[in-house]
Amino acid sequence: MKRPPAIESAVDRGLAPFRGRRAAGLLPQTRMGGPMVWVLAIMVALTVVAAGGALALSNMVQTARGDLAGSATVQIVEPDEEARAAQVEKVQDILARDPSVAGFRVVPQEDIAELLEPWLGTGDEVETVPLPALVDVTLRDGTSRADYDRLGGALRQVAPQSRIDAQSDWLAPILSALSSLKWMALALIAMLGAVGAAAVWLAARNALGGNRDTVEIVHLLGGSDDQIARIFQRSILIDAVIGGALGLVAGIAMIALLGGQFAALQSGMVAGGSLLAVDWALIALVPLFAVGIAVYTARMTVLSSLRKTL
């Protein structure tokens, strides 16, 4: 196709794409700036907190499952102290011979008393209360439910008052609840992404509407949809980068604050929810995804609106 002569001579020297700062002046930045930065900052901050929560819960559940998978507790509820001591001896014999058992430890009575102190208190009267004997058992990897049942049967033969509990069984409802919380956090992230995209969609439509005349003039002067979309993309890109950075800082500050408060609980299970380096790397990706979603949404919004014109 033949080009107009004035442009033809410029073509020989090389054309410059109509984008970046030279094109941005066509649309006043204030039309998309301002509130959009703060909306995106809040979205990113909430997403960072939700992502941090989801990752922490995931780590907590994994750590707890790992710790509990090979653990069991043998409990001997025998009020007579001598009979209880005899049953403990027999239980140790069985455990020492069983191929499923990697190791075991008889929990000292003092530790049991300390565990029960919040409920039973201290004092001479308490010492008269018979406490059960507890044996922590570590099972070998690959121990099946059948092995576990067989071991329980063998223990009951020598110690009728004994009972074996897999630690994972009594923590299962808690782990299930934590797992549900993790999925809820992920759903929250998805919803925040959708709300953020909707906010950008509205802002882009408003900006396009506010610049309708300019856009039409650029079209009639030979501007393409892509050139016009790039102007809006640049505007939202700047807003999203600033908003994303602010949101990331705010989100990390909130995670640090919450992490400090949970750490103060000094609970072994909560400690398993610490964030790892890879988790922080994933959290740092949140604003990048937000920028990507914002720019893509702005582009698609503008292009779909322009397609309705000639």
């Binding site: 196709m1 001579s9 410029a10 054309l15 030279r22 002046g25 079209h219 501007g223």
Partner: protein, 243 residues
């Protein structure tokens, strides 16, 4: 018609209606040739602006066919339209300057859209503003310019890219007679360089200032050809026959 002239626009039985209203243009058929100067006349409401909108590809017809630069533009994919629009210069009746850009930036806009580098556009834009007598207002925003000055900026913007076809809707409506003649001389100069010029006007005096021009007359949406130069109806492709 000289041998170097070629058919660049062909309207074939074109009709245009807005929504469900009656047609504002009916059975419009004509051909425009390169390097010719055309006037489009008619009373207010005759359909001049609607016909120009079809010409500068701001509107699709309700029926009929339009070929420009040898290509059917009715079925042209959307992404191909900008390339055709860049071959045209348009002076809008309401100027359509970008309010927040200076006169310089408004005139430079077609070149920037086409990808001309900043270093390459400064001189031609400055020259064009000089030519329309607005060099001293290069940094002025349209709101601070008079109607006549805005019109001159609009004209400068339309011709800065040396278009193959210049379409002007009442280009002298807001300027004094002296400037009107000067602008017509600019259009004639462009025309001599090979640009086809189409000027819509209801100013009969203007027609006499370009004696070699062709005249299209619109009345109630119907086109007549008083100078007989529109080759009406257009030549059918491949047959050489008319009608």
């Amino acid at each position: 018609m000289s041998a170097r002239e070629e058919e660049i626009v062909q309207f074939d039985n074109v009709g245009l209606r807005y929504g469900t209203e009656r047609e504002v243009l009916s059975n419009i058929s004509f051909s425009l040739y390169s390097s010719r100067f055309y006037f489009l006349t008619g009373a207010s409401g005759a359909g001049k602006t609607s016909l120009l909108k079809l010409l500068y590809l701001a509107q699709r017809p309700s029926r009929g066919g339009i070929r420009m630069f040898g290509r059917d533009v009715i079925t042209l994919p959307r992404d191909k339209l900008p390339a055709y629009r860049r071959r045209m210069g348009v002076v809008f009746q309401d100027f359509r300057l970008v309010d927040h850009l200076s006169a310089f930036d408004n005139v430079a806009l077609p070149l920037r859209v086409s990808g001309v580098r900043e270093a390459d556009l400064r001189e031609p834009v400055a020259d064009m503003l000089e030519w329309v007598g607005l060099a001293h207002r290069a940094e002025a925003r349209p709101a601070t310019l008079s109607g006549g000055e805005q019109q001159r900026v609009a004209i400068a913007r339309a011709v800065i890219g040396r278009p193959e076809i210049l379409i002007a809707d009442e280009p002298t409506g807001n300027v004094d007679p002296e400037m009107a003649v000067k602008l017509l001389r600019l259009f004639e100069a462009l025309n001599r360089l090979g640009t086809t010029v189409v000027v819509a006007t209801h100013d009969i005096q203007l027609l006499q200032k370009v004696p070699e021009s062709m005249i299209m007359r619109l009345s109630k949406g119907m086109l007549s050809d008083p100078t007989g130069a529109l080759k009406y109806p257009p030549r059918r492709e491949g047959t050489g026959a008319r009608g």
